[in-house]
């Protein structure tokens, strides 16, 4: 698929899609296609490098049930105010570091939405297709926007991993925008963009060189 085809997606009718977590049926997620924008109201849980490693490599049992929930590849800035945790800033980290674990993570936990940035690879796409899950991108660098959708920090587990790596259980309202990068059919938008760039780069180099040589 070329980027011009991707550009034709009509978002207007879908821009207010709100997905509630836990997701209890496959229909909602199956209606989303790559490039669609949606928001989450419900529970999301942060899980990045160390959580994936504990679950997949060390075989540890998760202290919470992620079935139907969303995980977020993120290391937030949290402050403790009296007895409550408050989320100051939360944005995505590079998802590709979790590519090695994600197929099995989805398989074992029943998680339905993976949120991160930069895209994920073919194994995650395969898992999304098989288990009717989606991978969505939250715009990187928008940490305050992310925090503004967090209504309550409902809990934290595995805090021994440190604040950025712990499992933060967050109640969110209209958390987004989330752009579908891998849909339940296994389409992979970020990979298409990268492959497209790879195909074009030789001709781009030649064109730049030609223009640079012009007097």
């Amino acid at each position: 698929m070329s980027s011009s085809v991707i550009g034709l997606i009509n978002l207007n009718e879908k821009e207010n899609i709100i997905v509630r977590t836990p997701v209890t049926d496959d229909a909602t997620l199956m209606s989303l296609k790559t490039g669609d924008v949606f928001y989450i109201t419900g529970t999301i849980v942060t899980a990045r490098d160390a959580v994936h490693e504990r679950v997949i490599v060390e075989g540890m049992k998760l202290p919470i049930d992620l079935k139907g929930l969303a995980i977020f590849h993120a290391g937030p800035v949290m402050v403790r105010e009296e007895d409550m945790w408050k989320c100051v800033s939360i944005g995505p980290t590079t998802s590709r570091r979790m590519e090695y674990f994600e197929y099995e993570f989805i398989e074992r936990t029943g998680v339905k939405i993976i949120i991160g940035k930069g895209g994920m690879g073919p194994k995650t796409a395969e898992a999304c297709k098989k288990y009717k899950a989606v991978y969505a991108i939250f715009p990187g660098g928008c940490g305050v926007l992310g925090a503004s959708a967090v209504k309550r920090v409902a809990g934290v587990e595995w805090l021994d991993l440190g604040v950025p790596e712990a499992l933060w259980i967050l109640e969110v309202e209209k958390f987004g925008p989330l752009i579908v990068a891998i849909d339940t059919y296994g389409n992979n938008l970020a990979d298409e963009i990268v492959n497209n760039a790879m195909r074009k780069r030789e001709s781009i180099v030649q064109e730049a060189l030609r223009r640079f040589s012009e007097k």
Binding site: S3, I6, G7, I9, N10, L11, N12, E15, G35, V37, A74, G75, P76, V77, V79, V88, S89, I90, G91, T93, T94, S95, R96, K117, G118, G119, I137, P139, G140, G141, C142, G143, V144, L145, G146, A147, S148, G162, P164, P177, I179, A181, L189, A190, I193, V194, N196, A197, M198, K200, R201, I204, V205, E207, A208, L209, R211, F212
Partner: protein
């Protein structure tokens, strides 16, 4: 003695306030360029992403919170006026200012000791904050430039030493390859800094200095300015788009800085800065008054 301490404490406050401003608010050049780039996009998801960025910029200002949760590691580029009287005090106050800004929650503790893997907890660690200094002959003031180097956006950074026979083709290919392979997760649209020199250390240092140059300025050498413009246009043709999800705008600009080379070498380095480009430029005068070149309307408080 008490005057010297007083000066150091005033400089610490000034620098900490400067760090806080840079963590919260984009510099003028970057904000202006993002507005221009948004207008060029036609793909709806690209426009959605720009709108999310602008909303985030506004919220960060309202809440005085760091724009991005990754506030990076701190790099200082200091040009001391030869006659500026507080050179040592300024150098000493950098660490204190960094620790204070971390305690105040404007900086996430990011510095990890490379040998022991321990996070130092206060953004001060072996050789960090990174400080490069130079002297401006005869001047009374000092220029302080600060760059917050985030993890994601520093990951594409690369350097190579090319054969002079293929220098320009090699440079173009190196820049295009770096951006297409490593650019998408680094939070595009990116500012691309390219350094050229005799050795990779010279090239690498210049590639970072290139990022500090205001967006919209061109290298004074016409041939290099032409290459900047060509690379800027051609990198946008890659179609990476904001956040790597496709679009017409992949880069905020390309800045090239160069030094002389050796007859046998042509070293090239690339540094990238994410759309949330947190950099600042402040001039401090002898009476400790200041001027902000990067954030014209702001006051330090």
């Amino acid at each position: 003695m008490s005057t010297a301490l007083n000066t150091e404490s005033r400089l610490t406050t000034l620098l900490s306030n400067f760090i806080n401003l840079v963590a919260v608010k984009l510099p003028d050049d970057t904000y202006k360029r993002l507005i221009e780039l948004r207008k060029r996009e036609i793909s709806p998801q690209a426009i959605f992403i720009y709108d999310a960025m602008f909303k985030n910029i506004e919220l960060a200002l309202q809440r005085k919170a760091p724009l991005c949760q990754d506030t990076g590691v701190l790099e200082f580029y200091i040009s001391f006026g030869e006659n500026f009287p507080y050179k040592s005090a300024l150098l000493k106050s950098i660490k204190e200012a960094t620790i204070r800004s971390t305690q105040l929650g404007f900086l996430r503790p990011n510095v990890v000791d490379s040998a022991t893997d321990k996070n130092t907890g206060n953004n001060v660690g072996p050789r960090l904050p990174w400080i490069e200094t130079e002297i401006i002959p005869d001047a009374n003031y000092t220029d302080v430039k600060l760059y917050l180097a985030g993890g994601g956006t520093s990951r594409p950074g690369r350097a190579t030493t090319l054969d002079p026979s293929v220098r320009w083709e090699g440079l173009i290919k190196f820049v295009v390859d770096t951006l297409s392979e490593y650019g998408p997760p680094a939070c595009p649209p990116l500012l691309v800094g390219v350094g050229i020199g005799a050795t990779i250390d010279i090239a690498a240092s210049l590639s970072k200095r290139a990022l500090l140059r205001p967006i919209g300025t061109r290298n004074e050498e016409p041939k290099i300015a032409k290459l900047e413009e060509i690379l800027e246009n051609e990198l946008n043709e890659l179609g990476i788009g904001p956040q790597g999800l496709g679009g017409r705008t992949s880069v905020m600009g390309v800045h090239i800085e160069y030094a002389g080379r050796h007859p046998a070498t042509f070293a090239v380095a690339v540094s990238t800065g994410c759309w949330a480009l947190r950099k600042g430029h402040m001039r401090i005068y002898q009476d400790l008054s200041y001027e902000l070149f990067s954030h014209r309307v702001d006051k330090l408080e």
